[in-house]
């Protein structure tokens, strides 16, 4: 099986000859445009070389490799890109023979040593060489300082040209910006570059025309996404650090919709990938992603992110992790929104354009802003509004269905009210339970798939009854215990039952020992525990922003989370 195809070899050889030392603007542009695919090709070449048993064999199988790698070593655009550089050096390292057996291998060694020499030092007799030699610093420090200086000079230049803007009607007069951003495409992962990258992004925001190189935008957005994933997955081994100021990141999102999408998706992926950490600190994590703040400042960002998460939910609507994320994201967003100056604030309608406007006031008001005694009435109000939306669904019209879906999605976003309903159910009298149960059922089963609505409602009431008996009677009757377990394992309303169960655990007034006993008996399976953690994450986020803090509840929550995480 051939590692590299002949057509690819011809293509890339022609390219590297054409690029030369990338001294011309067009060569630089072309190199930067092809950096990504060049890396893939280098990866293939490396894999091919790794299969070889000796350098002689490698030179026979890949006769182009000497010229190819050699020319690339003279192209600073390629060398400056950390990933390509590493691949190149690894290829060279493959071709080096620690014990050369013939003239070919010896020559190859000499040639590789020359290349390495060229990479780490300057041409003798040049001013560069002389100034570095006597600088009193190691070459590494000298070049690091030199890079910092050139970045700051160029950043100043960009900022100066920004000061003439915004002037959206005039074309960006600084053609140099485009060339600079082309060079920067190779350099996004270099930490010293962030001031310049930030300045270029800011310039693009003010300039209003696309004066930045597309490759550059793509590279910056990919580097940012990798950074998110690395930070969130706590694996810093291969992290590519790109540290930009918050403002630059938001500018990037405004400039590049695909970049914004990437950020939203990577937030989701990071949340789903590590439930242990995420369920502990979901709100901090969401805020760190900058998306809530950016959404509050730029309506279109909020709309894009909501759209993405809404689409995800239609694919996997039973996923509690996604729901928790959406709920927490909305809370963080609303908090940022209230932090804005009144004159800058857009009406809420702008952020939720598709949903029935009358739903916005009750749902977007946080429970912490409503007195506890009024919660039940508030929830009844929400329920009646939702019911009126559903009444129009009767005709099975697509538009009617969409209206219900939008209303349901808003309920998911404002899931703290559903959590509140569940909390109230713990202590509610039977005559008040109906609207609360309705809300819970609607939240977990928005569609009337297979006309199961009545059965679901019945199951909800049944679960609630059993749970009340279980938590209010001492000792906990085994009959109700097994009934609850039974309901938890049946797939129809498992999440709803779990939701209720956990609220009872956290909010009921019984002694801790009894409650722990019940938990141990009921929450036994790993899958159930994981889902429980997500529900607790939403409860915790709501309690964090509550008006008053109830220590008893918090410690219950803490104990329960710790137990669930233990196994």
């Amino acid at each position: 099986m051939e590692a590299v195809s002949e057509t690819d070899v011809q293509f890339w050889m022609a390219k590297v000859v054409n690029w030369g030392e990338a001294t011309s603007c067009s060569a630089l542009l072309d190199t930067s445009r092809h950096l990504g695919s060049l890396r893939s090709f280098l990866q293939q070449v490396l894999q091919g070389l790794q299969q070889m048993s000796s350098t002689s064999e490698a030179m026979k199988t890949f006769p182009f490799v000497g010229q190819f790698l050699g020319r690339l070593c003279w192209n600073p655009c390629v060398i400056a890109d950390e990933r390509s550089q590493r691949l190149l050096l690894r290829c060279l390292s493959c071709l080096y023979s620690a014990e050369p057996l013939n003239a070919v291998e010896q020559k190859a060694n000499m040639w590789i040593k020359n290349m390495l020499c060229h990479l780490i030092s300057e041409e003798e007799g040049s001013v560069a060489h002389a100034t570095v030699k006597h600088a009193g610093l190691t070459p590494k420090r000298y070049h690091s300082e030199a890079l910092q200086k050139v970045v700051s000079l160029m950043t100043e230049e960009v900022i100066k040209s920004c000061n003439g803007l915004p002037n959206t009607s005039a074309r960006c007069s600084n053609g140099n910006i485009y060339v600079m951003s082309t060079a920067c495409a190779a350099l996004v992962t270099c930490p010293q570059m962030s001031p310049l990258i930030g300045a270029l992004l800011k310039h693009s925001m003010l300039c209003g025309t696309s004066c930045l190189n597309q490759e550059f935008i793509k590279e910056v957005s990919e580097a940012l996404i990798r950074l998110y994933l690395c930070v969130f997955c706590l694996s810093l081994l291969h992290s590519k650090r790109l540290v930009l100021e918050d403002e630059a990141v938001v500018n990037l999102w405004c400039y590049s919709p695909s970049c914004l999408e990437g950020a939203a998706v990577s937030l989701l992926e990071s949340v789903l990938s590590d439930h242990e950490t995420m369920t502990q600190s979901l709100d901090k994590h969401v805020n760190d992603s900058l998306l809530p703040q950016a959404s509050a400042d730029h309506c279109h960002i909020f709309l894009t992110v909501s759209e993405i998460y809404r689409n995800v939910l239609t694919e996997i609507d039973e996923n509690l992790a996604v729901r928790a994320l959406i709920q927490v994201f909305t809370v963080c967003f609303l908090q940022r929104l209230t932090g804005q100056k009144t004159q800058d604030r857009l009406p809420l309608r702008a952020f939720f354009p598709h949903v029935m406007p009358s739903l916005l006031p009750p749902l977007l008001t946080a429970p912490s802003e409503v007195p506890r005694e009024a919660w039940l009435d508030h929830l009844i109000w929400i329920r009646s509004l939702l019911q009126s939306v559903m009444e129009n669904e009767a005709g099975e019209d697509v538009r009617a269905y969409q209206a219900v879906f939008q209303a349901w999605f808003l309920l998911v976003q404002c899931g703290y009210w559903v959590d509140t309903a569940a909390e109230l159910l713990v202590l509610a009298a039977p005559e008040n339970a109906e609207p609360l149960l309705w809300l819970l059922t609607f939240f977990h089963h928005p569609t009337n798939r297979g006309h199961q609505r009545s059965q679901q409602t019945a199951e909800a009431r049944e679960a609630w009854t059993h749970l009340r008996m279980l938590f209010l009677t001492r000792p906990p009757p085994p009959r109700h215990l097994s009934a609850v377990k039974e309901l938890l394992s049946s797939s129809l309303s498992a999440n709803l039952v779990l939701h209720l169960f956990l609220n009872f655990t956290v909010f009921s007034h019984g002694p801790v020992s009894i409650i722990n006993e019940i938990n141990d008996k009921v929450l036994t399976e790993a899958a159930v525990k994981r889902r429980a953690l997500w529900i607790l994450a939403s409860i915790r986020c709501r309690l964090n922003s509550a008006a008053t803090r109830d220590d008893r509840v918090h410690s219950r929550l803490r104990t329960l989370q710790d137990t669930l995480l233990q196994t």
Binding site: Q85, L116, C117, P139
Partner: protein, 337 residues
């Protein structure tokens, strides 16, 4: 101190050996130890670079050892104190360029990037990245927007200025600073024009314009080198010389001195009716007047000062108003002052 001098001698011997064929006997252990010594040497440099007393002791030890080694191994090059900061790098280059270096040694010095730790002693990746990033960025900024200088010269000049500033900030280091500039001049003999650009940037470098230590020192050094100042002024554009003159009184005076010297090389050819050069200096009347024109276009106070100077020169030379007798008269007439 004894021990330090002994160590220094050891290192120089190591560096010398690494350039000869004796290096073929080096194994992994020897190589790693050599680099350890080299690292120690770099620390010596950084500790004592600005300490005149210790440094001169080290310098004389270096000089003795250099002499001794030159006799024994004529092919190896002498090492200056300033180079000790890059001892490991020098050693690495020697091993890469010496055909007798054992083949097994190179993989030790360039470990596989995948397996090696990021800040291992032999990690060259950040050097290579910074160096090529610097080169790349310098290329993209090809507009000469820094007083007519290319950005690479500006950066190197600033770094040079910083180096001189830190060396000169302690007393007793003048001689050493001079050696540094001498060495740089010597080592860039291939391309003096680029060096002049860097020096110009160094003259402009202090961000704080009241700090004239570095420009003063550089000017004094330039004037010590035979013809250097004149070559520098010739190489730099009229616009750049004007910018530097605006920033540094001293340079302004020195520049005028150079222009006067150039003027003295011109003679009036009665037949042609022109001022023509008499020596090998490629200075013509036009070049001279262009230089003054640039100075006069710069605005106050340099404009007024230059006018005054020209008028003084004319007066001192006899105050002629007719062309062809005194060059200053003709310059003034040419520039329509």
């Amino acid at each position: 101190m004894e021990a330090v001098l002994r160590h220094l001698t050891n290192i120089l011997e190591l560096l010398a050996v690494s350039q000869t064929d004796h290096v073929s006997e080096w194994d992994r252990h020897t190589t790693l130890r050599a680099f350890q010594w080299a690292e120690y040497c770099e620390q010596l440099h950084s500790r004592f670079q600005c300490n005149p007393a210790v440094r001169s002791a080290l310098e004389s030890a270096l000089s003795d050892t250099n002499q001794r080694l030159q006799q024994a191994l004529p092919s190896c090059s002498p090492v200056m104190f300033s180079e000790l900061a890059q001892c490991q790098h020098m050693l690495l280059i020697h091993l890469l360029t010496n055909p007798s270096a054992p083949n097994s040694v190179i993989p030790i010095l360039f470990p596989d990037p995948k397996t090696a730790a990021q800040d291992s002693q032999f990690d060259q990746n950040s050097l290579i990245t910074c160096k090529s990033a610097f080169n790349l960025l310098c290329r993209t900024s090809d507009r000469t927007s820094y007083a007519g200088l290319h950005v690479e010269a500006v950066v190197r000049g600033k770094l040079l200025g910083n180096l001189l500033n830190s060396v000169l900030s302690r007393t007793g280091n003048d001689e050493y600073a001079r050696t540094l500039l001498d060495s740089i001049l010597h080592d860039s003999a291939g391309k003096p024009e680029s060096l002049y650009d860097v020096i110009a940037a160094a003259l402009l470098s202090p961000d704080d314009e009241t700090n004239s230590v570095v420009p003063h020192f550089i000017l004094a050094w330039l004037q010590e080198q035979d013809g250097c100042l004149s070559k520098l002024c010739k190489s730099l554009s009229p616009g750049l010389c004007t910018v530097i003159s605006r920033q540094s009184r001293e340079f302004k005076q020195a520049y005028w001195g150079v222009l006067k010297q150039w003027a003295s090389c011109l003679e009036f050819d009665v037949l042609e009716g022109l001022w023509v050069p008499t020596s090998d200096e490629p200075v013509t009347f036009i070049i001279l007047t262009d230089r003054f024109k640039e100075l006069l276009n710069s605005g106050p106070p340099l404009k007024e000062e230059t006018e005054t100077e020209l008028k003084t020169l004319k007066r001192e030379a006899g105050d002629f108003n007719v062309k062809g007798i005194c060059i200053w008269t003709d310059v003034i007439i040419q520039l329509k002052l």
